[in-house]
Amino acid sequence: MNGIDSQSTLSMVQKEPAATESTANGSLPKVVWKTSGGIPITLRSPSSGLSGVLSGPTTDDVESLLLHLEHTRLGLLRGFDQLLCLEGLTGVEQLPHQIETVRKVLRHFRGRVLLADEVGLGKTIEACLLLREYLLRGLVKRVLILVPTSLVSQWHEELHSKFSLEFSIPPRTAASDKSEYWANTDLVLTSLPFAKSKRRADAVTAADWDLVIVDEAHHCKNRKTLNWKLVNRLKRRHLFLLSATPVQNNLMELYNLLTLLEPGHLKTETDFKKKYIRRGSPRDPLNRERLRSLLGEVMIRNTRSLVQMDLPPRYAQTLMAQPHDDEQELYRQLNEYLRKRKIPLVAPTDSLGNTVEEDPINENGKGDDGNFPPLTRRQLSALLLASGSHPRSLAQSLENVAGEDERTRPIIELARRIKRSAKEEKLLELLSQNGHEKVLIFACFRRTLEQLQHLLDEEGVAYTTFSGAQSQQQKGAAVEAFRNEVPVMLCSESGGEGQNLQFANTLVNFDLPWNPMKIEQRIGRIHRIGQTRDVFIFNLCAVGSLEARLLDLLTEKIRMFELVVGEVGSILGNLDGGEEFESLVLNLWMQSHDDQQLEHSFDKFGQTLLEAQEKYVQTKELDEALFGDDYE
């Protein structure tokens, strides 16, 4: 039996270089020493180096030199107490427990940690802060982030907009099957299913990574799965595993996760079972205190009670607007038109179950109706979303997407003729009943926001507008006006992030994004730390619309509006197949030919959501029982 040879741990550095290579340009030779523990130390040439010092001018003034020396000295003081990652963030609310977690990981965990905060406490923020800190300090250069398929775009967007980090998402082409892509791209964000695919797993694991981050790491709970094997095979210096529910069924899952982090930390599987698992009772480990202490060396778990982040309740109400005749006619015509130009295929996924952006041209180069190619999935969803928002937004989107098709003319004209939609009337009714509360109104489309501005102008309701297109100064002024002067703020999708809007407690979703995470982000603008009053959410939608069905699904099946912030993500993470939620909704629409079929599809999907939610609740209970509230 071959073991690893024992090594002395005495720390005496060899006094002479173990190897010396002269460099061609006469600069410093490359020297490698070894410590007595066997750690090689390679002397690198300085970046600016000798030329930086010698090529410049000389001086006989002491002050110049003292300034350089002081600059270096101050640089030495920049320890981990002074986090570098906090500067230059956009729209990130830094909570004390997150900062503390970052410090803890930097100081004590040596870049290998399971971040297991309860849902909604900001594991992703913690991981991104850590990532930024490591990058800024030059501790890592090559980073791979693995997330569920449904979260790729959200991660990408947040890394960019909040942390100013540009990650590359591997293209869905043969290029990403080659090892060159993985070896030459320093910052990669992709889904676990994509990375583990047979076509590219070898290329991904052949590359050297300084840091690997695995979000929703409980997907690696089973060491027999490709997920676990992939992460285990990855060559990496540091590893962050993120999961609010590291134990879903039994303690062995936790063992498997921690073995990824530090093999042997919990000894062998047999040892672990013997010491910690009580037969027939996975929720009640043996030697709990010892286990807790071992976990404390590799895992951080903040809980709501620990960080005192309990929020007041929130109440949601759906306000159904009965569309006027012209609106009904508009939706009918639009549906008819879109069904003609939708892609005839039903399965828009590749072998991995990922959504693919199909070629809009059929094999014969024509659409169903023989004149125009089918609309792409993106175009279809844009039009369907616009129809759920406002007739004017629909008209604009239709013009942009299919303006060349003469058949859209009457639809566009009809949409433009509609003066005031039923939803707008409902909104005015709501505002008139609202009293003195500040109301935040969200809309996805710029055109919808403009229409709402007209509406409020006409009705003499004072408002301000906050949108992603505004400068920081304009945004600040809008928030101030909302706080001090006007009762209403119109807000675009990205609006309000990072702003302090807790003085308002009423939110209106004038339209609904199809992604529940985005709905949650909207709510999170006012239902967050600092909110002291109950929060009221009003969802406006037209009777019979796709949004009405979606809302019914989210409120009736998973009771979305009663969930704690972050729980929606955990539930959706339990959906198999790894598709974006919007894509699933579009699939439902595409697979059905009429309203009856659509209703049936939504019912079926509702059942799947219910199962995902039940799975989440069970897991949450198990984790709470295992780790308790006082775990740190």
Binding site: G56, D60, L74, G75, L76
Partner: protein, 350 residues
């Protein structure tokens, strides 16, 4: 390190540094009064090119120690030092100075030399003692170890430019006798490689605790890995003997091979994780010319004869060591090579 220093004093140091830097670049800095708890606020009027660096609309730049504030945020938690380094690029890093007059020892150097040095395999005679002017080069290095962890420091190395010997000199920038030396020799210094060699030695000592800690960590991690995989191998063996039915030997061996392979892979990964890079970056060089005494020695080794010079340093008031021609370290216990009669330290002579 930060824990040992009060936050307030760091803040003060940062403000002082920024004030000096801006004023050297033609700026004018004014601080408003503040109490201990509040952030420090100030205003600087700076030349246009500096204002551009801060994206300031005018030549007036706001200064504050509060992160997130407008203008230039003077905090170590911001990119303050990075911006400062851009401004510092304009400041020279090499200074030329001198001490015009110093008292030089008189008297019996023969006795002093024989007391300080031991000559291991040669006969050495004092030939002449003469006053000279010697240039001392003090190189300030920034050393950075990067591995799983990082550790950095800053330290000076002073080398006698005439003899190449490292000398434990006081910080020249602290010497009251120091004067500008505008007519100093502008030839590039020849002492860099010698200084780096000494710096490499010194940094190992300075980083001793850090290296020991890393060794300790690696040792623990290796031990844990070894125990884990050896336990897996043991379990594999025990399964063999406990099993009722005879296990498939091929399967058992395949498992053992897999465990060993994984063990090797993880061990390699561990070593890669701990591998360290050391960067030694020269930050500043002071060239200081001072009066000294050169003591010429005649060295006879068998039939070979050679002249060597040692120096009496008036700042240290003592003789300097001789530089070993093989390893570069200074030594008072000197042996010589056979033909060239080059000086060697005792270790290199073994």
């Amino acid at each position: 390190m930060t824990n040992l220093i009060e936050q307030g004093s760091i803040e003060q140091d940062v403000c002082d540094f920024a004030t000096k830097l801006l004023e050297r670049r033609g700026g004018l800095v004014e601080w408003t009064d503040h109490n201990d708890d509040a952030a420090r606020e100030g205003t600087a009027i700076v030349p246009t090119e500096i204002a551009d660096l801060f994206d300031a609309d005018s030549e007036t730049v706001q200064l504050s120690t509060q992160p997130g504030s407008k203008g230039w945020c003077l905090s170590l938690a911001t990119d303050f030092l990075d911006t400062a380094s851009q401004l510092l690029e304009l400041e020279p890093r090499v200074g030329t100075f001198c001490i015009p007059e110093m008292y030089l020892k008189r008297g019996d150097f023969e006795e002093l030399v024989s007391r300080e040095f031991s000559w291991l395999n040669a006969r050495v005679r004092l030939q002449e003692t003469r006053p000279v002017r010697v240039e001392y080069h003090t190189w300030w290095f920034h050393a950075l170890f990067v591995s799983e962890d990082r550790w950095e420091t800053r330290f000076p190395i002073t080398v006698n430019a005439s003899s190449g010997t490292e000398v434990q000199m006081p910080n020249p920038l602290d010497l009251w006798e120091l004067e500008p030396h505008p007519t100093a020799c502008r030839q590039p210094p020849t002492t860099y490689k010698r200084a780096v060699l000494q710096a490499q030695r010194q940094v190992q000592e300075l980083a001793g605790k850090f290296l020991a800690r890393m060794d300790g960590r690696l040792g623990r991690d290796r031990r844990r890995l070894r125990e884990y995989y050896n336990a897996l191998l043991r379990e594999n063996h025990q399964k063999k003997s406990r099993s009722q039915t005879k296990p498939d030997p091929e399967q058992q061996e395949a498992r053992e091979r897999a465990v060993k392979l994984e063990m090797r892979r993880k061990a390699t990964e561990l070593d890669e994780r701990y591998a360290m890079d050391l960067t030694l970056e020269p930050v500043v060089l002071t060239r200081m010319e001072i009066p000294a005494l050169a003591i010429d020695l005649s060295v006879e080794r068998k039939r070979a004869r050679r002249k060597h010079t040692v120096y009496w340093n008036p700042l240290l008031k003592q003789l300097e060591s001789i530089c070993c021609t093989r390893c570069g370290s200074g030594t008072f216990s000197v042996a010589f090579t056979n033909e060239e009669v080059d000086p060697l330290c005792a270790r290199c002579a073994e």
